[in-house]
Symmetry: C2
């Protein structure tokens, strides 16, 4: 079964108060004026200073609940879908639930799904099967990311790309008049790229307790071979998309023209431009937000959805493609009727 | 839909080479001889010295694949279901896939599901819906845990409980003659307990880069208020189990006597003993492994399954209950026909 009936009922978003311009980043990275804007294409991004992952996620979640006309009381499951976490234990979803108001004693199940930048797409994909089969009615999915604390200022290329932010969606079942559904979804992981994008520390391999002496400080910071990641992504993306499109139920000739929008992971401006041309995505249907927000890890795609839904650029019945790559290296995509 | 047809096709397990006895733990913790055995009930546990999470998980996975009569080539999805991780990025499943042999270019989707000690039950629950609806045929679920590196030797009670280890299962669809299925499953999270079991460090809240000066070393170590966790668990467990049993399809009077085994999370010997009496679980059906292995976080439950399957104490068609609590605080349970 490929098609699942599921509706995005509400969306929410939160960006930290502190905005960081490309000019400020130039100074921070010690490069000449204009370098960040030119190299990364990111003109502004947000860095969390006082906000936590949980606080940002809860604010996005509250907006999504309100947008759906629901309260936490109506939610049957809370999924945190993020590539970064607030603390090692417990899972972020439990902390988020606490922040949203733990006094209810309703015992809403809460857990995390993680595929780094694709976490939101993976969570939405998983959850849709449980909604289709009636296990849960309304599910809250939250992606809240603080990238800034783990950036390595010596890796200027990657450090200039990322920003912090959160987004949330409430999904639920459809009624007869709704066209909303997932037409097809697909994920592929190519672990020859597992060490091309990584933070080696933080787990049992380089535990912070070994920090003094044994462990290198840089192991706790983000490390990416952007060029190699990009090459590997481009090798697999065209056939990935072909397989995704050909798996659309009852529409074996599904094609790019049927999409109102492509909502890509905002990896980097250059990578997205090349991807767009290579995959023959019409320029006016390719959602580019990287200039404004940078790469928000797993929050990028739901932030994109929020943007086009709020701006009424995506209407009920419109079809869009969520598409991205993540550390792993993984490719993920979903053809979604909003 | 509550019942899902799904079959555990193979199981695998791995324990590190280094065995640590209660007597050794007495010395390590600086307590008088016999304290650890008496207080924690854990006589032996394993600590990974040279093994990594990925290596342990891959060895367990290989055994599970062989047991199922399959190879990695037959697997459609790899889920890492662990409470601890090898490194912060990428997700553990991608690293595990690499360790299993990345050369295949098959692009098996790989991602993590995390609800700390309940991660395996949550993953099995999620995945069963995708198998039921034909998205994936064979799924490899791996729980591999290294607790030892994060233990706080000053918290003698919790430090004496945990051990390292890994377990894996291969699950797949059933054929007509199979009775195998999930009869019911349930999860409840009560975030008033979110900070009763935690490692505060490692994420963005206390990032290792703030280690010097701002951050307390102990924030990177396991911190549990065992008594409070136990009280909270006992408050919710009886009604949780009642709701789980009453949700079994077409068997509204499902009861404890229909179970061949209860496979609990091996939280601690004392807690399990009290839970057993409170929930009226017959003593000879309550699987107690905590003396031999300690608490292996999410690996405890699949290690338990491995034990009774390998010893032929659980036969095809037998019904068992997977049951546990985790940081969150979450309660999770599943009625499973093997």
């Amino acid at each position: 079964m490929k098609k699942r009936n599921m509706k995005i009922m509400g969306v929410g978003r939160y960006f930290p108060n502190r905005i960081v311009t490309a000019e400020e980043m130039d100074e921070l990275l010690g490069v000449k004026s204009g370098w960040v804007a030119k190299k990364s294409g990111v003109l502004t991004r947000y860095f969390a200073e006082s906000e936590t992952i949980t606080q940002m996620g809860a604010l996005a979640a509250k907006e999504a609940l309100e947008d759906a006309g629901l309260t936490l009381h109506d939610i049957d499951c809370i999924v945190s879908a993020s590539g970064t976490m607030e603390q090692a234990i417990p899972c972020t979803a439990a902390l988020l639930y606490r922040e949203l108001g733990a006094q209810q004693h309703r015992g809403i199940p809460a857990f995390d799904i993680n595929s780094t930048c694709l976490s939101f797409v993976t969570a939405l994909d998983q959850v849709s099967y449980l909604i289709e089969l009636g296990r849960y009615r309304h599910v809250l999915i939250v992606s809240s990311e603080i990238a800034s604390v783990g950036l390595n200022w010596k890796q200027k290329e990657s450090a200039s790309l990322f920003g912090d932010g959160a987004a949330a969606v409430v999904v639920g079942p459809t009624s007869q008049e709704d066209a909303s559904c997932i037409l097809a979804s697909r994920m592929e992981t190519y672990p020859e790229g597992a060490h091309l994008t990584e933070i080696r520390g933080g787990g049992s391999k380089y535990h912070p307790r070994k920090y003094e002496g044994e462990v290198d400080w840089n192991d706790f910071l983000f490390d990416m071979d952007g060029e190699a990641v990009f090459r590997l992504s481009l090798r697999y993306l065209p056939s990935f998309l072909e397989k995704l499109f050909s798996s659309v139920d009852a529409q074996p000739d599904f094609h790019m023209d049927q999409l109102r929008w492509v909502v890509p992971h905002q990896a980097s401006k250059l990578a997205m431009k090349i991807m767009q041309r290579r995959l023959k995505i019409p320029e006016d249907r390719m959602l580019m937000l990287v200039e404004k927000y940078g790469n928000n890890i797993a929050a990028s795609i739901p932030i994109g959805l929020y943007e086009i839904i709020r701006n009424k650029q995506l209407q009920r019945g419109d079809t869009c493609l969520l598409l991205g790559t993540s550390a792993g290296l993984s490719l993920g995509g979903m053809v979604l009727v909003y």
